[in-house]
Symmetry: C2
Subunit: 233 residues, 2 copies
DNA sequence: CCTTCTATTGAGCGAACGATCAATAAGGGC
DNA sequence: GCCCTTATTGATCGTTCGCTCAATAGAAGG
């Protein structure tokens, strides 16, 4: 893989010894993301250090415990990669609401269809950490709630203030969302390599699901209004 | 939880000592399924034994290694719970093909929306075992392939022998399938407890997705036939 | 060149891991 | 009631885990 040309001591990639504190920390974080994504959060600090070409005690100079390193991974992969533009997209009144939904999903799925993102997300869920539920709670409140409000308005339905959003309305969006996420899961978690480009597959799924969405949404809202705003079931 | 009445030595549940070999083995398998589903496949044999109320070496009397015990779990949870009736359902010519799909998914999802089933399935995928890909390969070949063949026939389209099934056609079914699976994943893996009954949610998703499926399928097959049977992309 | 600072290492601690084996005790057949 | 079978245990092996700490070595400033 690496070239066999002799490399001067000055410009060689400083993977070995005596890095600055900040670039060593960055290297550890990046390496930890790749490593724990591959083997799971039960991966071992010694093996991580070996892959980084450093000794294991050095990890504990930069992170007091293994748990702190994993906490840093969460911040790095999920909180840091949340795109504030998503919230702007779904609130853009100059675009039809179904098109906002499409644009959000295309962009969001491209971001999360990533080896480390999906695998660490699932690993965290299995280990009982609240990261996945908190993250999906953000999607629900910051993305889907404004979208449903816009869909209500576009269909001349009562605003969420007059009639609170029902659980079934969220499920409508989570259904399409889940179909798109599942495409990435099959590849990144289950190791199934399809022949088709996953972006294209997801675009086709949206083409199939979006046209009927507003009509379905109107039926759901009508059904929910019968049983009253509180009874979402 | 348990009643406080005194229990005669004869009919008390024999959880403690001196079980018959087969009932002890069964108890270990059941306990291992529950334990590894909860903590992941990196769970420890000592903790499993503690929960079963037995000593750790006894586990190794019934299973030579921890890996063998996990292999047994795979057989018990996935191969044994595969329902041959599913293959009959999707081949039942007396029922419209979309109704066959609905019946299969309702029954299948009810079976797999199970704490142990979903969590061990995902854990196995993360650990790189080929169980998930093999299992989904069975769904693809034994369920979806016959369904697509029936959908072709019902739409007067060429049979798979004349024009092989395209990857996009499978993605159509996996899309709806994934939306339904995701409902269980959010609960069982991410720990999100929705207010609504998940069976009802999935039924509503099928109601929304199935009516347009045959028309979409015809478009996909027409598009695939242009690029020739071999080029599925 | 020498000193200072600190990134990095080697050795090692206590605990817990998967797995082994001889000793033990519970139950069935006579 | 005794014996034989075998399910079950207690003790323990070698390894590896997360983590600690004193010693080392590489770069920067004078």
């Amino acid at each position: 893989m690496a070239s066999s040309e002799p490399v001067s001591r000055k410009d060689r990639v400083p993977t070995g010894r005596r890095l600055s504190a900040e670039s060593r920390e960055r290297q550890i974080v990046e390496g930890a993301i790749a490593y724990f994504a591959e083997v799971g959060l039960d991966g071992h600090t010694r093996e991580l250090a070996r892959r980084l070409g450093i000794t294991q005690p050095l990890l504990f100079r930069y992170f007091p415990t293994k748990a702190a390193l994993i906490e840093r991974i969460y911040a790095e992969v999920y909180l840091k990669r949340w795109d504030a533009g998503w919230e702007a997209t779904v609130r853009d009144g100059s675009v039809p609401c179904l098109e906002r939904f499409r644009r959000f999903e295309i962009d969001y799925q491209r971001r999360i269809d990533d080896y480390a993102w999906l695998r660490i997300f699932v690993s965290a869920g299995l280990k009982g950490f609240d990261l996945p539920s908190r993250y999906l709670g953000m999607v629900r409140e910051r993305i889907f709630a404004p979208l449903l409000e816009a869909m209500r308005a576009e269909s001349d339905l009562p605003s969420p203030r007059a009639q609170p959003l029902a659980a079934d309305e969220f499920e409508l969006l989570f259904g399409i969302h889940g179909a798109l996420v599942y495409v990435g899961l099959r590849s990144r978690v289950y190791g199934i390599e399809g022949t088709a480009d996953r972006d294209t597959v997801r675009a086709a799924m949206l083409d199939a699901a979006l046209p009927g969405l507003l009509a379905t949404h109107r039926r759901v809202v009508a059904a929910a209004s019968f049983s009253g705003p509180a009874a979402a079931l």
